[in-house]
Amino acid sequence: MLVLLAVGRVPLRYNLRNLTVRWKTTLMTGLAFVLVVSLLTVMLAFVNGMYRLTEASGQPGNVVILSDGATDEIFSNLSPVDVGDIENQPGILRDGNRPLASRETYLVVTQPIVNAIPGRPKRRFLQVRGIDDVTTAARVHGLALYPGGMWFSAAGVQALPHSEQDQAEAFPHPAIQIVLGEGIARELAQDRTPQQRAAARDPQRLDVGETFKLADRVWLVVGVMQSGGSTFDSEVWARRSVVGPLFGRESYSTVVVRTANAQAARHVKNYFTTQYRKAAVQALVETEYFASLSETNWEFLVTIIFITTVMSIGGVFGVMNTMFAAISQRIKDIGVLRLLGYSRRQVLICFLLESLAIALVGGVVGCLLGTLADGWTANSVVSSGAGGGKFVVLKLSVDALILTVGMLVSLSMGLLGGLAPALSAMRLRPLEALR
């Protein structure tokens, strides 16, 4: 716009006054821009949130080891013997005698929802990660607990809490100690009755000391992880030796090993891929593994681009209509401008600037409205597209790039919508226009 202004030397005040004189039309056209751009901003913020989630979940120095051919953790099977050998390979950092390796069993289990909202599903899929050594796992994944919590004990179980003592007959086994990701803690809190919510320490999420029932066992929250912005935010962590047999899975799904840095991680990955022969495994640098879960993000992005393009085309037709009407009302003005010495190019720029001005204002307001979505949480799925995937709670994220895209789309709509009418104005002959 600034370039057009500089090159064109056009009567800008004349254009702006025309916009204000026809304020109803200007407002309606501007509103169409606002809607398209704000919607685009929200949708892109959603995809951005998904990308940020998959990018933030991996540590560049970690290597994820799955069984060969497994397209996702859920399909991976590693025997205890193989796992013992894997974690003692060269390149893996050690803490004293122990390798910095987290042995994990990733499970997706079906949880019946108590107090399900009418019309909503009566079951949810819960992601449970069975872990052998939780302090090592937390160190490898770089996760900490919120104050007041603790990691589960070596036994992974404890006596039923006082609040559940009256149900000891129905639940004769000890309670399973768990730590929750913050996102799933919020999700599970929706199952609470109003009385439970009123009595809860944190009305938004399950907190230390609270329980839920699953697989005929009481699950007791002993800690909540500071896991926001990673896929672990949607997981329930428990001792593997407790939850593995409970759900009929004795094998491991994953070993995550810590190396010195990103370069060392690539070496370890290559070693497992090309030289390691004792077990059929595949290794991925953790950041690569989570990047591979971006297939769904890409699918969403393509859909958004398609929808926005189609909606923008609709908006372009609207702008064209407005601008053609503006020109037909001001044919005599154009004649006068030409007689005053304004060139055809200046008339073209003059009318283009009008549509661009509407687009600019509409775009700015649309972006501002879209920015309100920054920080909203939403449920989704990230997946590599080859089966499996993870249920995640993500935060919508509006950044400078999204706002730039929003403004560019808005200005492009203004340019495309204003070009044909401006060209028709440019072609008007002065005397004919005044006749």
Partner: protein
Amino acid sequence: MKLLFLIVKNVGRSPLRSTLTALGVMVLVLVVTLVWSALSFLDGLTREKTKNLKAIVTERWRIPSQMPYTYVPKLAEGAARYPGDVKPQDWMAWQFYGGTLDPTKQTRNNVLFAVAMDPSKVRTMMDELDQLAPGDSAELDEAIRRMQNQRNGMILGRQRLKAVEKHLGDRMTVHSLNYKGINLEFEIVGTFPAGRYDNSAVMNAAYLNEALDAYPRKSGGRAHPMAQRSLNLVWLRVPDMEAFSRVAGQIISSPYFANPAVKCETASSGIAAFLDAFRDILWGMRWLFSPAALVTLSLVIANAISISVRERRMELAVLKVLGFRPVQVMLLVLGEALLLGTTAGFASTSLAYLVANRWMGGVPLGMFGSLYIPADALWWGPAIGAAAALAGSIAPALAARNVKVAEVFSHVA
């Protein structure tokens, strides 16, 4: 009649403006049609039926469900143990067999997942395959007959066939990803009719089970690790909700299905649980996206009509002088908007219907196969166009109704 004639004539008087407005309406109605078609399709999947419904039996706790194949005979009978117990009308058991055609370079295109099942159940139990056109029906029946006679036969969806770059009659070896060490050779004996099963593949369950039985002979007597976990789900057809409740009760209370335990739910309930992960996206489509598209649509129409009214104030005043009543002037403006909106809406959905259903053979919708624009969209389109036109033209029409003859002519004077 005279009013109708005037409406049509007025719409045709400014072809450029009318065309631009109509194009704007068409494009936005297209967006709303696509979104509503997707939502309507998903709603249909999760809507509980009361008659002729399907139940799914899966492992009670774990996903993916992996049960022993020995569960099949009992589940097929709905775990009926006592006289008076209800048996399902029909059933099918699914085992998932997946692998790659090129183990050295696994790509999305050369990965193939097939449902291993009894071929005789393809027509009776798989959705929509019992209501095929005669041509498609004969073709699929022939493919099923060949798969029954030839155990390594496979029926593939058209898009999947294209993706793996194979043709009817070709042979291929699938190097399994989920049944390690069981690599099977297949012959493609048929394709599914275009549509829902474009990305699907079906193989004969007997072929997979024979391979599992033969596995110990080649591996020192050790059974395959998946041997006792090869059954993924069982579908049961029941006549109504009451029969479903009884069959579900029989299965859940049966001591036969203890390790692993199983659950029985209606197909729509199972799909609803899966779709719950996408609930925020669906909410956004329903309550943010569709209204925004509708409001934009109304704005485009409102803009066009208000411009047209402003430009024709003189003409409207003349109409009043000629004896047109204010309400008739208002109807004239509303009629123009409605004509444009309805026609453009109908054109848009008709075009979408033809392109998506006939030309493209359905819009791909991930794991749900292909999305088709429902025939209902042929009335949605005009209705959306008309409603948006009405909403957008009320204010300009009222302005036209209130045009003051004296005021307009005083300006001219």
